[in-house]
């Protein structure tokens, strides 16, 4: 048994898993506050990464400026998307809501391919050194940065929902829309802001992954990988999203290890999360931290 490889893969899994956790958190944020399942979450990453690429490479901006402009763009994008497409969907059956976001997903995927091309593009070098030595292992600087940024985002979410006024309004809306509205919270604003924040944070994750792997339409696959994570953690739990993301990330890399060392099947690592997903849905459909919905007649 190759312990060194296993350890390296598990560390990889932890880092990738926290990124999954961040994206899953954005997904849960939208689901919790607006009751919409966002199948276009992966496209947020994709659009964010491409827009940042356009700012950096086509317009030759310095990194911090391009990054900032991307965040502003994504915020506006999220609000406009919510206002134009998702607002008419309030009160529609769940199949319509799901299909609208799926429609958005294929629209934006095709649009980015059309505008930016189908080939992988790489960002200009941001860091001086490519990798650093940590505990006797080579780790890419971008990975460390992604881990730090993920932790930072998570802490930001914690602060936001615990202390900021908007975060409290969002929690109130998620708890009960009618009560929140009667207390003077603008539910419209809350809906728009939750899409804006989700788009913005997803874009950060997209840029981080784009720095490591390059920007291509493969980024939107993360949007699909999010589903095992959120189902495992529970659909309406932010903590669950993080835990689920980390577990799915580790699981993927463990599957890769088992596959590479013993089974030699090929792409087990990309399919393993979905087997887990089916099993969880059969035995514990509301996940680890999700609330079980009880229906009355």
């Amino acid at each position: 048994m190759n312990f060194e490889l296993l350890f390296q893969l598990l560390l990889n899994g932890l880092i990738v898993g926290t990124l999954y956790g961040v994206v899953a958190m954005c997904f849960v944020l939208i689901y919790k506050s607006t009751q919409i399942v966002n199948f276009a979450q992966g496209e947020f990453l994709l659009i964010g990464a491409w827009v940042c690429y356009a700012f950096l490479v086509e317009m030759h901006m310095p990194f911090w400026m391009g990054f900032l402009f991307t965040l502003i763009f994504m915020m506006v994008f999220g609000i406009v998307l919510q206002m134009v497409v998702l607002r008419p969907m309030i009160g529609e059956p769940i199949i319509s809501v799901i299909m609208v976001t799926i429609g958005l997903s294929i629209f934006f995927q095709a649009a980015t391919k059309w505008i930016f091309g189908a080939t992988t593009a790489t960002y200009p070098q941001v860091f001086e050194t490519r990798s650093v030595n940590l505990l006797g292992m080579q780790i890419e600087t971008a990975y460390i940065m992604s881990f730090v940024i993920s932790l930072f985002i998570m802490a930001g979410f914690y602060w936001f929902f615990k202390y900021s006024k908007l975060g409290l309004a969002m929690r109130a809306t998620a708890f009960d829309q009618q009560v929140a509205q009667s207390l003077g919270i603008s539910v419209k604003t809350v809906f728009a802001m939750s899409w804006a924040i989700s788009a913005l944070v997803s874009a950060i994750a997209g840029i981080v992954i784009g720095m490591v792997n390059g920007v291509s339409s493969a980024l939107s696959v993360i949007g699909i990988k999010v589903f095992p994570a959120v189902i495992l953690g529970g659909l309406d739990s932010i903590v669950g999203a993080i835990v689920g993301g980390v577990i799915i990330g580790m699981l993927e890399n463990t599957a890769e290890f088992v596959d590479g060392q013993y089974l030699h099947w090929g792409n087990l690592f990309s399919i393993a999360p979905f087997y887990v997903l089916i099993i969880i849905l059969c035995i514990k459909p509301y996940g680890l931290f999700g609330t079980k919905d009880i229906e009355r007649i």
């Binding site: 769940i94 799926i102 087997y275 849905l281």
Partner: protein
């Protein structure tokens, strides 16, 4: 009321038998039969391009009807229909290649095999519904796609599987001209079966499960049984459609059955109208014609400078994909009940014209 009129001028039904009739009047029934004969004339009148389009429409329409039974009538969401469609294609080729059963028989057998697989993946549906089910079927899509690429004994792995042409009583169906009639036969039979299913107790049970599953259960409908049954029937239709597709192309490869095709199937039934057999056919026609119309639209616009640029001509595949996404979004926002509803409105308008109130 059985007179020679398009619609009876009021509601004269006194029995349940009358209420569940497929055709309101004899005129409508005769018109439908005449319509089928008119369609059967297509290969004699129009050229091969349209015959090919019709064949595409027919196998997609059969699979889409299956999805509509599941989504539109039973209220279960499935994002993995393309995988079942593909499974049917592989299953029919496999049955025919290994056992030598004639293709015409192997197509329904493939349907049954797909129904069994559908039952397997429908099992979570016994416990979960709505969104959770959508995600479970999404997982089914990826698992089956992976299976297609891996199971070489069944699908030929990455090389794909060869499917023999259809053989009707010693008469080989090679060209589009004769395949057209095979498709028409299957289309009519499957649509009649689908329409009739909705008139039976099982069909009404599906609708009851969709409308309010708790009330349905209290009324004595076995939820688990009907949800699983709906999955099986839906997969059966997908399998038949897929098998026809496989034998039409003569070759089945694992790449064709991606999530995009699943979304296209969902798009067909949403654009056509959820819970409408007629709408399914309309939606399929729309979905199959949309890329063709886009293509001819772009080539018609190429007299202009901007439309003949490489950005437009090279991006045509992406423009088609964007059109599919956009069509789904626009229909959901502006016409959530689909083309079937619009058709109803147009008919009502002409019926009351010019004295609509």
């Amino acid at each position: 009321m059985a007179g020679f009129s398009i619609r009876p001028c009021g509601d004269f039904r006194t029995t349940y038998r009358q209420d569940t009739r497929i055709f309101d009047t004899t005129y409508v029934r005769n018109a439908a039969i005449l319509g089928i004969f008119a369609v059967a004339m297509i290969p004699f009148v129009l050229d091969g391009y349209y015959v090919n389009l019709f064949i595409q429409i027919s196998y997609f329409a059969i699979a889409a009807l299956g999805l509509n039974i599941l989504v539109g009538f039973t209220g279960q969401i499935s994002l993995g229909h393309a995988a079942f469609f593909g499974f049917g294609a592989f299953a029919s080729a496999w049955i025919n290649n290994t056992t030598g059963i004639p293709v015409l028989l192997s197509i329904p057998l493939a349907g049954l095999m797909t129904a069994a697989v559908g039952l397997l993946f429908g099992l979570p549906a016994a416990r979960i519904k709505g969104l959770y089910l959508a995600i479970a079927t999404l997982a089914a899509q990826f698992i089956l796609e992976d299976f297609f690429a891996r199971a070489e004994w069944f699908t030929g792995g990455s090389y794909g599987a060869a499917a023999n042409p259809i053989n009707v009583f010693g008469f080989e169906v090679y060209d589009d001209f004769s395949f057209f009639y095979v498709c028409l036969f299957f289309l009519v039979v499957m649509y009649l079966l689908g329409t009739n299913l909705m008139r039976t107790r099982d069909g009404r049970a599906f609708v009851a499960v969709r409308d309010h599953y708790l009330s349905a259960e209290i009324m004595g409908i076995n939820l688990t049984k009907y949800r699983l049954m709906s999955f099986a029937i839906s997969s059966f239709y997908a399998g038949i459609g897929g098998a026809i597709y496989g034998h039409y192309l003569g070759f089945v490869s694992a790449e064709g059955f991606t999530i995009l095709l699943s979304i296209q199937f969902l798009g067909m039934i949403i654009i056509g109208g959820l819970g409408s057999v007629k709408g399914t056919l309309m939606g399929t026609v729309f979905m199959v014609l949309l890329p063709e119309v886009m293509e001819s639209g772009v080539s018609a616009l190429s007299v202009f400078e901007w439309a003949s640029s490489t950005a437009v001509t090279d991006g045509l595949a992406y423009i088609k994909e964007m059109a599919i996404g956009l069509a789904i979004i626009l229909f959901l926002i502006f016409e959530p009940d689909g083309l079937a509803h619009r058709w109803q409105q147009i008919r009502a308008y002409w019926k009351l014209y010019p004295f609509s109130y």
